[in-house]
């Protein structure tokens, strides 16, 4: 029998594979277990720091009564990352340099709504 959780992760994974703006991705849970990844070359430090940043973002949101963040943009000189929560998972996306965050987020949410 298929597991609905795995099915939706597979749908998300297929969706992410099809997006030209996504260079690579990791789908992890809050305990750092990898559920899907575009390659095996992921950094444990990236997962650890993403979990920390998400947790402190939630704690900050709790203090200002806005709750959990919808997403986290991680903007570096050399690359762009978007961290998105989906149910109990964190989706860590490495985006190509020319991707525009607002445009990409809109596109991603529209596609998420269609496949999930």
């Amino acid at each position: 029998m298929s597991n609905p959780k795995n099915d939706s992760l597979s749908s998300i994974s297929n969706l992410l594979n099809s997006l030209k703006e996504v260079e690579s991705y990791i789908i992890t849970d809050m305990e750092g277990r990898i559920h899907m990844a575009s390659s095996e070359n992921y950094s444990e430090n990236t997962i650890n720091s993403s979990i920390y940043l998400w947790v402190i973002g939630s704690q900050f949101g709790g203090e200002i009564n806005t709750g959990e963040p919808a997403n986290l943009i991680y903007y570096m000189n050399t690359k762009k990352m978007l961290i998105q929560k989906y149910n109990d998972y964190l989706i860590i996306l490495n985006l190509i340099d020319i991707a525009k965050f607002p445009v990409f987020k809109r596109k991603l949410y529209e596609l998420f709504n269609r496949v999930i």
Partner: protein, 204 residues
């Protein structure tokens, strides 16, 4: 420093600015009155380790931005410290980038000479934090049961609770240790717990 705060506050959509030194000491802020000092303490404590935590191999960070419903929260690192900014979603990003580039040039010199207006929140937490030598003993112990992955696991469980290995409050240690020991094979757990007990942490 007030001029810097004012320049950032003048970016359309910005409602709050707080500037911290690398040690977590607050040096300037202009936050809405609805937010109290606890929030600034939390920011000082939780955002202070970010520079150390972020993977070096990922490159230099320009900013982080948490997006909430109708609100954005920025973390903008500069040499010697960092800036937290709260804004509406309508913030014009080109204006933000231009202003922050100018601020990042000017701020390190100001930070070097500025007095803090609030003690580093980390300082308070460290008094009640697990001593580093005990953390190191725990790391060695976990390495025996979890192998080379143990530092990653220990750090990760601490991060899940919003702490780093250098600021675990004693009150949260048991929950963190429970998280780590859960990764150890069941038949080895009693032995590990006994060894943790012998470290004199006063929790097991």
């Amino acid at each position: 420093m007030n001029q810097v705060v004012s320049n950032i506050k003048n970016i359309p959509g910005v409602t709050g600015v707080a500037i911290f030194k690398d040690n977590g000491a607050l040096v300037a802020f202009d936050f809405p009155k609805a937010y109290d000092k606890n929030l600034l303490n939390l920011i000082g404590l939780k955002f202070q380790p970010i520079k150390e935590i972020l993977p070096q191999e990922e490159g230099e960070i320009v900013y982080l931005c948490w997006e909430y419903e109708n609100l954005l929260a920025f973390y903008y690192p500069v040499e010697g410290g960092w800036i937290n900014i709260i804004s509406s979603e309508a913030i014009p990003m080109p204006v933000f980038s231009l202003t922050m580039t100018a601020v990042a040039k000017k701020l390190p010199e100001l930070l070097a000479t500025s007095q803090h207006i609030q003690e580093p929140a980390g300082g308070k937490a460290e008094e009640g934090a697990v001593p580093q030598e005990k953390v190191e003993e725990l790391e060695k112990l976990f390495a025996l049961y979890l192998g080379p992955a143990s530092p990653v696991i220990f750090k990760r469980v601490a991060h899940q609770f919003g702490f780093t290995l250098s600021n675990i409050p004693t009150g949260s240690l048991k929950a963190i240790l429970d998280g780590v020991t859960a990764k150890v094979p069941e038949n080895k757990r009693p032995e590990l717990l006994e060894k943790i007990g012998s470290l004199g942490l006063g929790i097991i």
